[in-house]
């Protein structure tokens, strides 16, 4: 079968989304076994942005993310086995068991780290952008965060500095409407558009439906090509929705902090099935192969994590200072 460029892209986007979703679902499924003993923030429902990003960023580009960072780590090419092992607290984990789910890193693909403190990795990403500019390396620094981080002072400080210095930085805000369980209505004035507000600071701003992977792909693509030409920084806002609880493996609509109608509306905008429906007739076999391959990879990663040794208790006291 001959695949067009568009076909290839669709299949890749599908695979990226399916892979991210399946990893998160496997974590959720096994979480109550009590072997993954760290706060774990899943991003089920929010796969379109990282999946599109994955097709567009180069391996040399930098990326940093937040507490909800599994998808960004994976989409930058971060090693799956090392991530699962890290969540299991194993020596083979990407941070050797010192960081857990909220502190992921894979320097081999310039995924530079994630932070548990809201907004904390934003200026670090800007510093990576400054370095890229000083070295004229043509790298872009991508910074992932949510709508809550936009309420932190450091966000304004960082985007202001990046704009003053015209840095090759792309700020990616996944607006999922909630910070923990607090809705936007208690956090920001009614009717505010984050994009419009940020636009006044001076970076280039784009936004779109964050659950439509094709639109997201187009938006990130535009931002990247302009930033590579020195027209950065960019601020991108993608509207999306977190299906599960803030932290942990469960659905939490029973808590009553969000309306079931709102949840249902976003579930209809589910990114993966919407793309699947579009391509299943033509690529029935390919999709089956993708799913089988991903499922096998995930089982292998969990087996690797389960079988890996724990670090020794003495390791807790090592590695505070570099020599």
């Amino acid at each position: 079968m001959v695949y067009s460029l568009k076909d290839r892209l669709y299949l890749k986007l599908y695979k990226n989304m399916y892979r991210i979703r399946s990893v998160e679902e496997e974590i959720a499924k096994r979480y109550n076994e009590g072997k993954m003993r760290c706060p774990t923030h899943l991003s089920i429902g929010q796969e379109a942005v990282p999946a599109a990003f994955s097709q567009l960023a180069s391996q040399k580009d930098f990326a940093v993310s937040s507490h909800r960072g599994h998808a960004h780590y994976l989409s930058k090419g971060g090693n799956l086995k090392s991530m699962i092992a890290e969540i299991y607290g194993k020596k083979t984990g990407c941070s050797k068991g010192k960081g857990g789910s909220m502190h992921l890193i894979d320097l081999s693909v310039n995924f530079m780290g994630t932070s548990a403190i809201v907004g904390n990795s934003i200026p670090v990403g800007v510093g990576l952008g400054l370095s890229a500019k000083l070295k004229k390396s043509k790298q872009i620094s991508f910074i992932f965060f949510g709508d809550g981080a936009v309420e932190e002072g450091v966000f304004y400080e960082s985007i202001n500095f990046a704009t003053v210095k015209k840095l090759p930085v792309i700020f990616i805000c996944e607006n999922n409407l909630y910070s923990v369980y607090s809705p936007l209505s208690v956090r920001q004035p009614k009717g505010r558009s984050i994009s419009k507000m940020v636009n006044a600071i001076g970076p280039k701003v784009l936004s779109c439906d964050g659950n439509d992977v094709i639109k997201v792909h187009k938006t990130i693509n535009t931002a990247i090509s302009k930033t590579r030409k020195g027209e950065g920084p960019f601020f991108l806002e993608f509207f999306t929705y977190r299906w599960l609880e803030h932290c942990g493996p469960n659905y939490d609509n029973d808590l009553g902090y969000r309306a079931q109608t709102e949840f249902n509306k976003w579930k209809r905008k589910e990114p993966i099935n919407n793309l699947r429906k579009k391509i299943i007739k033509k690529f029935h076999k390919e999709i089956k192969n993708i799913e089988d391959e991903v499922n096998r990879e995930i089982i292998k990663a969990f087996n690797f994590a389960e079988k890996s040794p724990f670090p020794s208790p003495a390791d807790a006291h090592k590695g505070v200072y570099a020599k």
Binding site: C94, H103, N120, V124, L130, Y321, A322
Partner: protein, 355 residues
């Protein structure tokens, strides 16, 4: 900078920055006022002229983000020296210092460290008041993952700043404003002083005086008086580095003198002095012949008026009185002997602020 000539503390800092930027072609230097007409009390003089505005630049008033920026740059191999004209402003950056800079190396499994140097200037007198005078070395001392350097002399400042810049870890470099005009001999071009090594400024056998930053000058004055008037020989140790502390030198000294006075430029409660005394009480309980003494700032915010700060700071006479008291020696003339001719809120009469 010509060698073997006297230079001031500010010139020493400037000299170290020039040497480091020449040596490491990627290194950057920034902070509010770094390229302004005053050049941070002249410490950043000629840097922009020599190394260009890409590497030496003024910045927005955004302490927290700009600390994070230095971390990001460091992760890509670009060292930074970030300057703040008072420590108090840097409190806005505690998140980036504590949650990122101090943790990065450890929490990501020792893969990449954060070589940044943060210069913080400590105010005193001339009405600096509650929020321009805080000496919070104890805060930084509390956090694993950072180093804290606090020189007292110009030549040490140069050697320690160079070591700080080329250290692979985040270093807080504390410069006391009252030391900026002090001088020392500039011995060599590029020299390093090991972080974590104290300096015995004066050997002695009757009491150990541990000191830091500006208070070392007062301690030396006190030691001179104690010897000349009472034949008491005090060993004065300038800690130079707060974190890590040179325990070996401290322990060796108290083993000899069996008495201890610790000076601290910060608030008393939870001070570095308290930590030193705690550790000695735990580990060297039988070494001391008398209770250790702690002289630090009172646990109140520093007031502004010169009238209110008149007896506020620890001076040489306070040190002498404390030492004599612990040795049960009575001398009613100490205050009179040290009676200052000029005002108490400046290091010397030439100091005219404004900050």
């Amino acid at each position: 900078m010509p060698n073997n000539k006297k230079f001031t503390f500010t010139e020493a800092v400037n000299d170290a920055l020039h040497i480091a930027m020449k040596k490491d072609k990627k290194m950057i230097c920034y902070g509010l006022g770094v390229t302004d007409p005053k050049r941070v009390f002249s410490t950043t003089l000629n840097l922009k002229k020599k190394f260009g505005s890409n590497r030496v630049f003024d910045v927005p008033t955004s302490e927290n983000a700009l600390t994070g920026v230095s971390i990001g740059a460091a992760l890509d191999g670009v060292r930074s020296v970030v300057t703040h004209q008072r420590l108090d402003f840097f409190l806005l950056a505690m998140d980036q210092l504590v949650n990122s800079a101090a943790k990065w190396y450890y929490m990501f499994g020792s893969q990449r460290s954060v070589p940044i140097t943060i210069r913080l200037i400590l105010g005193r007198g001339w009405g600096q008041g509650p929020t321009h005078s805080q000496n919070l070395q104890a805060w930084f001392n509390h956090i694993p993952g950072i180093k804290v350097v606090m020189p007292s002399f110009a030549d040490d400042a140069k050697g320690l700043l160079l070591s700080s810049i080329f250290d692979p870890n985040p270093v807080i470099f504390l410069e006391h404003r009252w030391l900026h005009n002090t001088t020392a001999i500039n011995k060599r071009h590029d020299y390093r002083i090991k972080i974590g090594k104290a300096k015995i400024c004066k050997t002695g056998k009757h009491i150990t005086i541990l000191s830091m930053s500006y208070l070392t000058l007062e301690a030396l004055k006190a030691a001179k008086y104690l010897y000349e008037k009472h034949k008491i020989s005090a060993e004065v140790i300038d800690l130079r580095t707060i974190k890590p502390l040179d325990w070996q030198t401290i322990f060796r000294s108290i083993k000899k003198t069996k008495r201890l006075l610790v000076l601290d430029t910060g608030f008393t409660t939870g001070s570095v002095a308290s930590e030193i005394i705690a550790k000695i009480s735990i580990e060297k309980f039988n070494t001391l012949k008398s209770a250790p003494i702690r002289l630090a700032m009172p646990d109140v915010p520093e007031p502004t008026s010169p009238a209110l700060t008149k007896n506020f700071y620890t001076r040489a006479d306070d040190i002498v009185i404390s030492v004599l008291k612990s040795l049960r020696i009575n001398d009613k003339h100490v205050k009179l002997d040290f009676k200052q001719s000029g005002p108490a809120d400046v290091p010397d009469p030439s100091f005219k602020g404004p900050f």
